[in-house]
Point group: C2
Chain length 287, copies 2
C-alpha cells in the first residue's frame, strides 16, 4: 500500500518516541527530528509506509548512536508474553475450537506494537479478542488452505507477539500435516519487530521443521521485502500467514496471503476498509 499524508507527521512522532528510548538528551532528540523532517521533505510520499519507516528509523539509529533503541522494551514484551504462555496454552487446549482460539490469540498478540505508541493492555486485549467478531473473517478459507498445505511461510511482526505466534503454529502442527515452516523475522533491529534473537528466546526454534529468514529493507537483511526472491518464496508457499500492519503495508498487493492483525492505524484501517480496533483475518487474492 501507499503512504498517506497522515503518515508524514506520524513517522516524526514515531522517530521522537524511538529516540527517547535511546536517549534522554533533548538536543539529540531535536537533531533526529530535524534530520527526519529534512529527509521526508526530499522524498516522494507515495511510496509504502514501510519504506519511509526504514529511512526514518535509520536516522534514529545513526544520530542517537543506538542500533536497537527498543532492545529493553522488546525484552520486557517477550518476558511478559512468555509468562502468559501457560495460561494461553490452556485456553487453546480447553477450547472446543482450538485452531480458532489460537488464531484469535495470535491476533490479540498483535496489540504489542510499539510503533503505534507505548500504551496497550495485552491481557485486556486477549479477553476482548476472544469474544470479538472478526470484521473480515476468512477463517473457513484458512482452514481449507491449511488442509491442503505441507509448508507454511509465516511473516512475523513484533517481539512478545511471537510467543502468541508460537502457540498458533504449535496448534497448526498438531492438527495439520505441515512439514516445513519458514518463519520470517526482521534481519536487523527495526522498531520492536521480532528478530531471530527474539524468535529463539521465545522458543520458536523448538518447533519441528522450522527455518528462519531475516527480511527487511537495507540494513544488512538477508532478503529484501520487495525482492523477486522473496516474491518467489511467497509464491512457492502452500500458505502464507502474515501478522500485523507492517507486513500488510509491504504485501497487501500480493496474492494468496492470510493477513492476521488488529487495525490500529487509521490509514491502514481505511486501506483494508475497516475501523480502528477491528480484528481481521483477511485472505488476499489480489495480484
Amino acid at each position: 500500500m501507499k503512504s498517506r499524508l497522515d503518515c508524514i507527521p506520524c513517522f516524526q512522532r514515531q522517530a521522537l518516541e524511538a529516540t527517547r528510548f535511546a536517549t534522554g538528551d533533548e538536543h539529540v532528540q531535536e537533531q533526529v527530528l530535524r534530520e527526519v523532517i529534512h529527509s521526508l521533505s526530499g522524498l516522494d510520499w507515495k511510496v509504502s509506509p514501510l519504506e519511509l519507516a526504514y529511512g526514518v528509523h535509520g536516522i534514529v539509529r545513526r544520530v542517537s548512536g543506538e542500533n536497537d533503541p527498543y532492545s529493553d522494551v522488546k525484552q520486557r514484551c517477550n518476558d511478559a508474553a512468555l509468562r502468559m504462555y501457560p495460561e494461553l496454552r490452556k485456553m487453546v487446549d480447553e477450547s472446543s475450537t482450538p485452531l480458532l482460539t489460537a488464531v484469535r490469540l495470535a491476533i490479540a498478540g498483535n496489540i504489542i506494537d510499539l510503533g503505534m505508541g507505548t500504551k496497550f493492555d495485552i491481557k485486556k486485549t486477549v479477553v476482548s479478542t476472544l469474544k470479538k467478531d472478526f470484521r473480515i473473517d476468512d477463517f473457513s478459507k484458512f482452514v481449507r488452505t491449511l488442509n491442503n498445505s505441507t509448508n507454511i511461510t509465516y511473516l512475523a511482526d513484533n517481539a512478545g507477539e511471537i510467543v502468541f505466534d508460537k502457540l498458533l503454529l504449535e496448534t497448526i502442527l498438531k492438527e495439520y500435516d505441515i512439514e516445513k515452516i519458514l518463519f520470517a523475522v526482521k534481519g536487523a533491529p527495526f522498531i520492536n519487530d521480532a528478530t531471530l534473537e527474539d524468535a529463539i528466546y521465545a522458543g520458536l526454534d523448538q518447533l519441528p521443521g522450522i527455518k528462519f529468514i531475516g527480511v527487511g529493507i537495507g540494513n544488512g537483511s538477508e532478503i529484501e521485502y520487495s525482492s523477486e526472491k522473496f516474491a518467489d518464496i511467497l509464491a512457492a508457499s502452500d500458505i502464507v500467514i502474515s501478522k500485523g500492519q507492517g507486513n500488510y503495508e509491504a504485501f497487501s498487493s500480493y496474492k494468496e496471503i492470510f493477513f492476521l492483525l488488529i487495525a490500529k492505524c487509521p490509514v491502514i484501517a481505511r486501506d483494508i476498509g475497516v475501523k480502528v480496533g477491528d480484528i481481521i483475518l483477511k485472505y488476499s487474492s489480489k495480484k
Copy 2:
C-alpha cells in the same frame, strides 16, 4: 510556555486536518504539509506553541485559499451549544452552588476544541465534568477574587464553548457586583477559536457592561497577545479568567490569572503538572 518537540509533528497533523476542512484536493493538502514542514524546519522550536500555530495556520489559509476553514464546523458548534443552553441554564438555576456549577460547565465547554482533533462528545463531557474532582482547585480563591472585583477580563477560547462562557458570566453577574467585562475573542479566524461574530451569535453582546477586543498574532488583530498594551490590560483587571489551552500557552507566565480548562494535550498537561483529561481551575500567581 515553550513548545516541545512533540508539538512539531502535532502541528503538521493539525495543518492537514485544517486543510481538509477547506478542500478535498489532495494536491493542495500535500502542498500545505510540505510548506508547513519547510517553514517549521527554519524556525526555533523553543517559541510558544501559539506562535508556531499562527505560522502554520497562516500557511493553511494562504495555500488553500480559504480564510476560515473551520467556518462551518464553528457554526455547528455554536448551534449545538445554543441548543443545550436552556438545559445548562436549568442545571445552574437548580444547583445549590450555582457558581461552582457554572464554572464546571464552562470547563466542560472547553472540550469543543477542533485543534485537538475532531472527536469529542460534549454531552458526555458535561455529565462527567459536573462530577469530576478538579486536579487543581483554586475555586475558593476564585470566589474571594470575584468578591473584590468590579471588572473582569475574560479570555475566550472556542466557538460553541462561548455559550458556556456566557452562562458563567451571567451567573457571576447575578451574584457579584461586576460593572465591566472585557471579553477577548480572536481578532481574525484561527482554528475554531471564537471571533466577535461568534460572540454576538452566541448572545454575549446582551450581557450588561460587556465590551469586546480582538486578540491574536498578526493577522489584523486589534491587539497582539504578547504586546505590552495587552499586558497592561491584564494587569489593570480585577480578575482575569482564561479559558482553554491556547490562552494557557500564551499567558502561563503572567500573574494573577485564573485558568479554566480541560487538559487535552500531553505537552500542556505536563507543563501544568496534571494528566490528560484532568479538569483545572488554576490560579497563577507566577511572574
